[in-house]
């Protein structure tokens, strides 16, 4: 039996590696994408998402990202487009209101870090690879991730909207998270 007074100290020893590893997402975090319509790029942002981040650059084996995105919270600066995106042809938020991304492994690649994971969007689950940039700042950190998805692999923009001469297939996704230590 450990004396009660030692328990918190032991806990600190176990849970405190080089950096605090568990984070929540703080104010000022953004998650969005860049797509192209009629040859012109436009930006979209998800106003609502949740992310649970465990990340220690010195111990990638324990790292994990778990992100849920409220698809109906998308805004792109155009009322027509914002009205169409939640519809069945695009995100179909009635059937699947959230997109879910979960990492499966992290690895170093050159000077950077790559996170492998799976994205479930509109009922389709596919492997997705993120480029990860982690910058410690005080007790927290900023975490920047980017990837490029093909919207048609996830059936985003079906039927007549599958026409890639008007709506590009490739969608750049960019997250910039202000991490707050748990």
């Amino acid at each position: 039996m450990t004396p009660r007074i030692l328990a918190p100290l032991l806990g600190l020893l176990v849970a405190t590696p080089a950096f605090a590893a568990d984070y929540t997402v703080g104010a000022g975090s953004t998650l969005g994408f860049t797509s192209s319509f009629q040859g012109e790029s436009f930006d979209g942002t998800f106003k609502t998402f949740e992310a649970t981040i465990r990340y220690d650059p010195a111990d990638l084996a324990t790292a994990s990202f778990d992100v849920n995105v409220d698809l109906a919270s998308v805004v792109t600066g155009d009322a027509d487009r914002d009205g169409a995106l939640p519809d069945a042809e695009f995100f179909d938020v009635k059937k699947a209101p959230k997109a879910h991304f979960k990492t499966t492994a992290f690895r170093k690649e050159g000077a950077g870090v790559v996170a492998e994971g799976t994205l479930t969007l509109k009922g389709v689950t596919k492997p997705v690879t993120l480029a990860v940039t982690f910058t410690p700042a005080g007790t927290g950190a900023t975490l920047d991730v980017t990837t490029t998805l093909k919207r048609l692999e996830f059936n985003v923009g079906t039927g007549e909207y599958a026409d890639t001469s008007t709506i590009a297939d490739a969608v750049k996704v960019k997250g910039s998270l202000k991490l707050v230590a748990k």
């Binding site: 319509f37 009629q38 040859g39 012109e40 600066g77 155009d78 027509d80 009205g83 169409a84 007549e160 909207y161 026409d163 001469s165 008007t166």
Partner: protein, 192 residues
């Protein structure tokens, strides 16, 4: 058919501009009237894109046509009362003005609303202004008003040409038609 106009008739270049733009203006106008009532969807998106592509083409043609007009000579006016001559030339002047003002106001509207502007899916054109809702509202009001003024002027333009052809039996219409044979002027009559 000579490329340049003569004192008697319009040349091949002027005729080609006239008739291609006539078809284009009628087509783009019909698309414009039809497309705003369409249901949201790709067909609407593509119809707007076509309207914009044709409109941009007509803007470029109007500029080339004006440039050509400065190089080319003009056929002399057919014999007609002074008021008709003034009305005809005023109509032509306004038509040229609207051939520029309608596509430009459309482009301005498109820019102020932040829409993409692509020419037949080949290349994109820049926005004329930053996004600006009230300017967009003004631009589309002008775009539509200019169109209806153009439509009224076209009635006068076509009506005038047909009246001269049918009642005056002169060459006003024939000299703009491709391949038409001009009517002989009655003996003793000369144009001023």
């Amino acid at each position: 058919m000579a490329l340049k106009s003569s004192t008697e008739r319009w040349g091949g270049v002027a005729k080609t501009f006239h008739w291609i733009m006539a078809l284009g203006i009628i087509g783009v106008g019909i698309l414009g009237l039809y497309m705003t009532g369409m249901d949201r969807g790709m067909a609407k998106v593509n119809t707007f894109a076509l309207h914009k592509s044709i409109g941009l083409t007509l803007l470029a043609l109007a500029l080339l046509r004006l440039a050509w007009r400065f190089v080319d000579r003009k056929p002399r006016d057919e014999a007609m009362p002074r008021w008709q001559r003034i009305a005809a030339h005023a109509t032509h002047g306004l038509l040229y003005l609207l051939m520029l003002a309608i596509p430009l106001s459309g482009w301005l509207f498109n820019s102020a609303r932040g829409y993409a502007l692509q020419w037949f899916k080949q290349f994109n054109l820049p926005a004329l202004v930053e996004k600006n809702e009230s300017l967009g509202d003004l631009a589309i009001t002008l775009h539509v008003a200019f169109f209806w003024i153009l439509a009224a002027l076209l009635v006068a333009h076509v009506g005038g040409a047909l009246m001269h052809h049918v009642f005056e039996r002169d060459n006003t219409l024939l000299r703009m038609l491709p391949f038409a044979r001009l009517r002989k002027r009655p003996e003793g009559e000369s144009s001023p």
